[in-house]
Structure formats: structure tokens, C-alpha cells
Symmetry: C2
Amino acid sequence: MSRTPPRPLTLRDVSEASGVSEMTVSRVLRNRSDVSQATREKVLRAAKQLGYVPNKIAGALASQRVNLVAVIIPSMSNMVFPEVMTGINKVLENTELQPVVGITDYLPEKEEKVLYEMLSWRPSGVIIAGLEHSEASRAMLRAAGIPVVEIMDTDGDPVDAVVGISHRRAGKEIGEAILKAGYKRIGFMGTKMPLDHRARKRFEGMTQALAKGGIEVADHEFYSGGSALAKGREMTQAMLERTPDLDFLYYSNDMIGAGGLLYLIEKGYDIPTQIGLAGFNGVELLQGLPMKLATMDACRSEIGRRAAEIIVARTEDPNVEIEERIELTPTISYGDTLRRG
Amino acid sequence: MSRTPPRPLTLRDVSEASGVSEMTVSRVLRNRSDVSQATREKVLRAAKQLGYVPNKIAGALASQRVNLVAVIIPSMSNMVFPEVMTGINKVLENTELQPVVGITDYLPEKEEKVLYEMLSWRPSGVIIAGLEHSEASRAMLRAAGIPVVEIMDTDGDPVDAVVGISHRRAGKEIGEAILKAGYKRIGFMGTKMPLDHRARKRFEGMTQALAKGGIEVADHEFYSGGSALAKGREMTQAMLERTPDLDFLYYSNDMIGAGGLLYLIEKGYDIPTQIGLAGFNGVELLQGLPMKLATMDACRSEIGRRAAEIIVARTEDPNVEIEERIELTPTISYGDTLRRG
């Protein structure tokens, strides 16, 4: 189809359609109070029928800021970040601010590029996943002069504010629960490794906790592909063929954990006596499996909400007092696959 | 934390840090070719170390357009729209365009509000889910003077371009497959109904196909809550208690279908002989269940890709010839839960 775009609508179009002067139309559209209710309604009705929308670019030039919040996350295609987005949206939808989303695929060089593009629009704030960034990205974040909230992870030094959980502690707590339950031969399976710093920190936390009980991880497999059920099945089968005496499997996320669980049920393993399992994320979607997988809620929606609240508060008042480090506390859900010690 | 934001960086800061004149710095940052390679590198290195990012708002004021693409979708929290977003991102990440995401929760009044907000930023294009919009939303889309692509669904009249599948036809094809396989007592379960127009159209398409074989839907349940495994279990159990002689269950999405499947397996139903099942969406995540659920791929990632390609082509040349109606063809995947007739 070839076509000429329609001529942009102007105040004059609304003025002609409503029979009200351009100046009054402008007052109504800027929400000024010095216009009668009847006139206001006439103008708004005409504007709506025409499909007129005011232009905010000029205002942005004056303020040097647009009402966009840059949200920079690794991926949309697993269940983790859409829930963070939902939390962010819940807060921003009651404000003038809108999220702009950039995807990094867990790659630092891509994060740098996306951040550069977004900052060139002078957004009102940045919400960015993780604490590990390139030097150039950190320089841009520091120089941006807007609120920056790093989310998901609190194990490190933020540029500005941070909202998340300690993944080292999450791994440590799982490690302690595994020890307490008496498991001795532990296997770890991780996807998106080593790019997923948060999964790596959980692995490290668990390893340290186990070491205190004199136990070393007996086998591990890092895989940098997807994270579906089928991948969890495959990895579990391969690991148990290689190291058949494992009695506990810790997965970097619930989806591969659920795949492993379905595989072990089919093969007739006695869970959690013969072998225990735990995932991570508390994916609500997975409630309804034949057995409930042990996991830990990553507080995703709350992280999004709290981060957006910081941006909103700082946008309204740059000097407002805020908590610059918000560490949320996930709790272990034992489900049916991790013995209570 | 209370703090004064840093003074915004200017061309002069880059000039001082690099020892190159402001005019030359400006040339380098606008990618002009009349600067030596050595000078260019010096300037870019200094800009990177400082975290300097050029300001694009002024350019937008001149062109009356910003390089944002408004993407308006019902939800982030199921698996459908994140995959559409991934498709859109794959195309836009190679361009200057960035997606801005608005969420409607399947509510027309919220869609209207989100659209209004986004259009006030004069984006370069709009990608919006579905063909059903309020009159005011349609007026805004028509008047915007930018490429508009309605996605997911081709059963109706688009404002401008449309990329999707025919959900009526998808439902009809499943209905025909059910008839051909010899099932006679059919139940339908839908979530997000009646707000999800696409699920409604699939239901209508199936009903029509069954009617041609002289069969009426024996039971149906519409539920407007979430769509997790547990919901699929509950709905399936309730329906089979109410109508125990059903021999086929059609679900509005794969997640509730998978919940139903797990329930039926546990209860010892003989699938697909005693009872058959089908879902919708082709959610890749679900590969790895004990049996493969019959489904239909909704072409989500391709829909996102093709829609973004239209926006990109039209942004480069508003008069370019494009296909204004792209209907993709999903195919039935029979899996282990739908007999081949």
C-alpha cells in the first residue's frame, strides 16, 4: 500500500470542530481552570472525535527531560523479567511516566549500546538489571544526572540506588537447607551461565555453605542456551548417567528444575528421600505440577514496584530522602522435593 | 539519600577532556566524515570515559518525530506477548528505533489512555494488539499520521496494516480435526474471556466447524482470571465432575491445557483414546511434559518481526509499497493428545 500520511491535526482543527477559539482550546487541553465546564466538554468531545493528541516534544525540550523511564533487562523470553515489568507498570501507570524497554541478551557490549541510545533521549530515570556493567556503562549512568536504580541483585556497589535480593545469601540458605536435610552428593545445573551473574552468585553461595559442612559439589553443568522443561530433562539425564550417586540437584531456575522433576518422576525415583531437588524464582506458573518443586521466591514483582517508586519519588523531588539500598528477603519454599532437616 | 544531581555534561567537557575544539567534537559526535581518524578516536575515547551522551530531543523537535515505536499489548505476564516483544526487538535493535511498551490489561478504556499518552510523544510508529478498539482509539490511530500495525489477529478491518493469523480459522481447523478424529462430546475452557477477543474467535470457529458435523459443544467454562497450570487442573476437574462423558477438551491456551493434561494423567485417563485435548499457542516452554499437548503455533515471534519490519520500512520511506495485510498460517501440532482422523 502506498499512501500519503494525513496532515497532522492542529489546535485550529479542534477549534473549528468545536466552535471554540484556539486560545480556549489550548487552555482546555492544558487543563487550565479558567474555562467553563460546558466549553471544556465541547472541546474535549471534538478533540476525541478527531483523534487529536497534544504534542509533548516541545515541553521536553524546555525541561531537557522526557517522561520516559529506561528499563534495561537481559531478556523478555523467560518468566522472570515480564514479572518485573508488570511490577514497574503497576506503579508507572498511575503517573505521567512511561517505561521504554531495552534488551541486552545478557551481553555487556549490548547493554552499553542500549543504554547509550536510551540516554540520548534524556529519560527521567533508569532501571537496569544487575550490578555488573562495563566501565563505559557505569560512566554513562553516573553522568546521566537522573535517578538510576539497579535491580535484582544487592551483592555489590550500585551507581546510585539498588533494589533486589542477595543471591549469594539465597544460595547459602539453600546450601544450609540441603546440609540440614542430610543430603551429601550435590549436583548443580545452570543455564545462561556464566553470563547470568545472579545464578553464578547463588552457585557460589551454595558452594560456601556446603564447604562449611565439609561437602564439595559432586558435579555441575553450566549451559548457556535456553531454559525450558526439555533442557532440564536432558541435563538431568546426562548428569545422572555421569554421576549416578547424586542425592540432590540444585537448578539455576524453576523451569529446568521442573523438567528435571518430571524426568525423575517418570524414572521412578523416590523424591525427596532418594533424591532431592530445588529450583529458583518461585514461578507461579508451575504450581500444578505433580509434585511441588522446592524453590525460592525472587520477589520479582516487588522489585519492579519498589524500583519504580524510587524513580517516581525522585522525579517529583530530586532531593527527596530515599533508601538507597533495599534488600528484600526471599524465603525457601520446601515444596515436596526438599526434606526438612 | 539526599543529593544534588551532577551538572549535565556538555560538548565543552568532551572538548576539554580530549584537547579537541568543540566544533570538531560536535562533528565527530554527529558522525561527520571530515575529521581524521586519530582525532575521532581521541574524542570518542574522552566521551566514553566521561559518560557523555548526545541529546536527541532537539532533533526530535525539528523533525516532529521521536525514534520510538509505541508497542501496546494486553499483558506481560503470560508467555504470549514477551515472545512478540522479542520478535519486535530483533528487528528494531538493528535500527535507530526503540520500542516503548504500554500495557492495557485487556481493557479498552486503558488502551485508550495508554495510546493517548504514547501518541503525545509523536512516536515513529504504533504496533498494537488486536483489531477491536474504542471509537476514540481508532480516531487517534487514524489521525496519527504514522504507520500503525495491528497485530495477532486478521479477522476484521485494520486502521492501516495488520499482521497476524485468523483465529476463526485456527478454531475451525481444530474443530475439523476433532470431528475427523471421531470425538463427539466436546468441552471448551477459556481464561481471560470474554475480554480476549482472539480466544472468543477461536471458540466461535470451532463451534461452527463442529456444527457442520452436527455436533454442539457439550460444556464450556469461561474464566477471566490467570492462566497457570493450577487453574487448568481446577477447571478440568470441575467440568468433568459436571459433564463426565466429555471425550475432548479444547483450551484457550497451552498453560491451562497442560494443567488439564497433568490432571488427567494422574487420574489415569487413557489419552487420546478415552479423552483428547488441545491447547493453543505452541508454547515452547512446555516441551518436556510427560505427553506432548496438541496445539497450534500462534507465530508470535514472526508476527513481532514482520510488524516491526513494516514500521522500519515506512519510517525510512512513508510512501514505500508494503503488504497491508499479512496473514500467517499456523499449523496444528497433534502431539500425543489428539488422534489423527
